[in-house]
Symmetry: C2
Subunit: 341 residues, 2 copies
Amino acid sequence: MQGGGGIKTRPTAPTLEEVAREANVSRATVSRVVNGSPKVSPDVVTAVNAAIAKLNYVPNRAARSLASRTSGAIALIVPEDTTMFFGDPYFAAIVQGITRRLDESEFLLNLLVASTDPSHKTLRYLRSGVVDGALVISHHEGDDLQREAGLALPLVFGGRPSQAGDHIFVDVDNVEGGATGTSHLVDIGRRRIGTVSGPLDMPAGVDRLEGYRRAMDAAGMPSDAYEVADFTAAGAMEATRRLLDRFPDLDGLFVASDLMATGAFAAIAERGRSVPDDIAVVGFDDSPAALSGPMPLTTVHQPSEQMGFEMADLLLRHLAGDPDVPHRNIMPTHLVKRASA
Amino acid sequence: MQGGGGIKTRPTAPTLEEVAREANVSRATVSRVVNGSPKVSPDVVTAVNAAIAKLNYVPNRAARSLASRTSGAIALIVPEDTTMFFGDPYFAAIVQGITRRLDESEFLLNLLVASTDPSHKTLRYLRSGVVDGALVISHHEGDDLQREAGLALPLVFGGRPSQAGDHIFVDVDNVEGGATGTSHLVDIGRRRIGTVSGPLDMPAGVDRLEGYRRAMDAAGMPSDAYEVADFTAAGAMEATRRLLDRFPDLDGLFVASDLMATGAFAAIAERGRSVPDDIAVVGFDDSPAALSGPMPLTTVHQPSEQMGFEMADLLLRHLAGDPDVPHRNIMPTHLVKRASA
DNA sequence: TTGTAGGCGTTATCAT
DNA sequence: ATGATAACGCCTACAA
C-alpha cells in the first residue's frame, strides 16, 4: 500500500502542543514566547522560535480569543449601502487613516457595510465577541448601536452622534465649516446664494446647513435657498435642479460635500449656466472628488484621513484601558480656494 | 451600601449554560435549538427560544469556531492599496456582488485590502483560522497565496490566476474583450489605433493587450502603439501622453479599463484634441467610471457584479463540500456603444 | 524561569 | 428526544 492513498487528509494545522513537544518545553512556555513574555530565558526563546518556524505554527485565533476574552480585531461600521460607501472618496480617506493606525498595531479591521438590516445581523455580529470595539461612521439618527440590545462594546464615532450621551467621537465643527464656505461666496460678491445640504438625520447635514444660515444672516442675506440631498452625486443633481427652478437668479452655491458638488456641476451645466461666472460653487471635504469634476473645486477642507487615524487611535487607547481618552475631538477645517469660486 | 458601587462590572454576556439553566434543559439541547437541529420537541424549542430571548443570548463566535473548526466567515483579499481599491468602481461592483450572495447565507465577509506586506501579516491572518475560505481579486503575478507557507485554504479567484494550477476562478475572456474593443475602432474607420494596457504582471493586463494585437493583426494594421499603465487614472494619463508623443497621428484608442479611460480623456484634452472626432476612445468594464467623465464612454462590458456573486457562490458551494463546482468560469462580454467611439 | 492544571463557551460523541 | 462528557487550542493563575 502506498501511504493510505485515497482519502484526502487535510493537513491539520500545528498547535501549541506540538510546538511544545518539538521544543521540549511546556505549552505554557510556548505561549509565553508567542506572546512575548519577558520572563523566558533567551535560549528557550530561541529553541521555541525554531520549533515554531520549523512547524510553521500560527496561533489559532478562535482559541486565543476564547481563552483571553479578546479578539484583537475591531469593526468599522458603515450604515450605508455598498454603492454609497465606495462612491464617496471621503470614506476611502477615512479607511486609509484607520488602516494606517491599525497597521502599526496587532489589530485587524473588519469592515461592516451594513445598509440592510443594521439592527439585527450587525448587532448579532457585534455581540458575538468577534471584535473588541467598533468605529462608527456615517451615522444616522435612527441607529442607536450603543443602547440597542444593550450593546456594551467600546465605540468611537466619526462625526458627532445624533443621540445624546457621553460618546467618544472625532469630528470637525460643521457649523463653522458651513459658514466658512458660504462666507466665501459672500466675500466674492455673490448676491443670491443657496445651498445643497446633506440629509437632515445626520449632524453633518444639519450643521453645515446651519453654518450656511448663520453666514447668510451675518451678511444680511436671506437663507431660504436650500435643498436637501443625500450625500450622493445623483441626489445633489436633483436638489440643484430644484434649487435652480426656485431661484433662477442663483449666483452662488454651497454644496455640503465634494461628491455632491460634482452632481451640482452637472445640473448647472444642464441648465446652460457656467461655473464660476454664472454660479460660483463651494464644496466640502476636499476629497479627490474636488478634482474629479470639470473644474477644480473650491472647497472646505476637512482632514478626513487624519480623522480616521484619530478614531482608530482613540479606540485602541480606550481598549488598552487608557482612562483619559478625550471624548470630544474637534479637528480644524479651512477653505481651499480653487477655480470654482 | 448601595449595590457595590465603584467597580464598573462589565455585564458579562450570557452563555449557553445560562440559557440551559433558564430553560431547564441541558446545554446540548440549547445548542441543538440554536443550530436548528430537527430532533428537538416543539415545546422544548419554544421554551429554549423564550430563554434565549429573555437573556438576550448571542452565541460566542470564538467558542463556536473552536469547537466546530469552522468560522462562518470568508475573506476578500485585494492585493492593492486602499486608494486603488476605493478608486476603481470595478471593485465596488465586485464587492456588491459578493455581499449580495453572502447576505443570503450565514457567512460574514472580512475585507483584507493588503498592499503592504501581503505575504506576512495577511498570511498569518489566513492561517489563523478566522476564515473558512477566501476570494482573491486583482491578483498579481508575485503573490502566490496558494502555495506560500503551504496555505491550505479554499480559494476562489476573480480573474484567472497567473500561476499554473487547478484553481477555481471567475473571469471573462479578456483576449476576446480586448479584440472586441479594438475591432470597433477599426470598424468605425480609425487608421492609427493604440492602446493603454493594464500592468503586465496581471493576466487582465496581458490578455487585453493581446486582444488588441490580434484585432490589429486581423485588420492588417500595426500593433505597436501601446503603452503600459497600472489601472489607475493617473497612470493612464501618463501613458496616454507618452502614446500621443510617439504617435501624433493617433485617431483611435483602446483603454484597458474605464477608470483609465478617464485619465486618457484628460491627456487628450490636455493636448487640445477632441473625443471622438480627433481620437475615438473605447474603454473596458462598463463601470460607473464610464459615465463619470466628460463624455459617455463606449466600452466593453463585463458583468462585474455578477462575477462577484459567482465567486462567492462558488466558494460557498466548495466549502459546503459540493464535489463538482466548475473551476473555469468564463462570463460573457459585449460592446456598449456610447459617445466616445 | 518553568511546568501543572483548570477554564474559556461551543460542538460532538456517546449513552440513555 | 435528551443529557453527560469529552474535546477544540490557548491563556493564566498557581505551584515548583
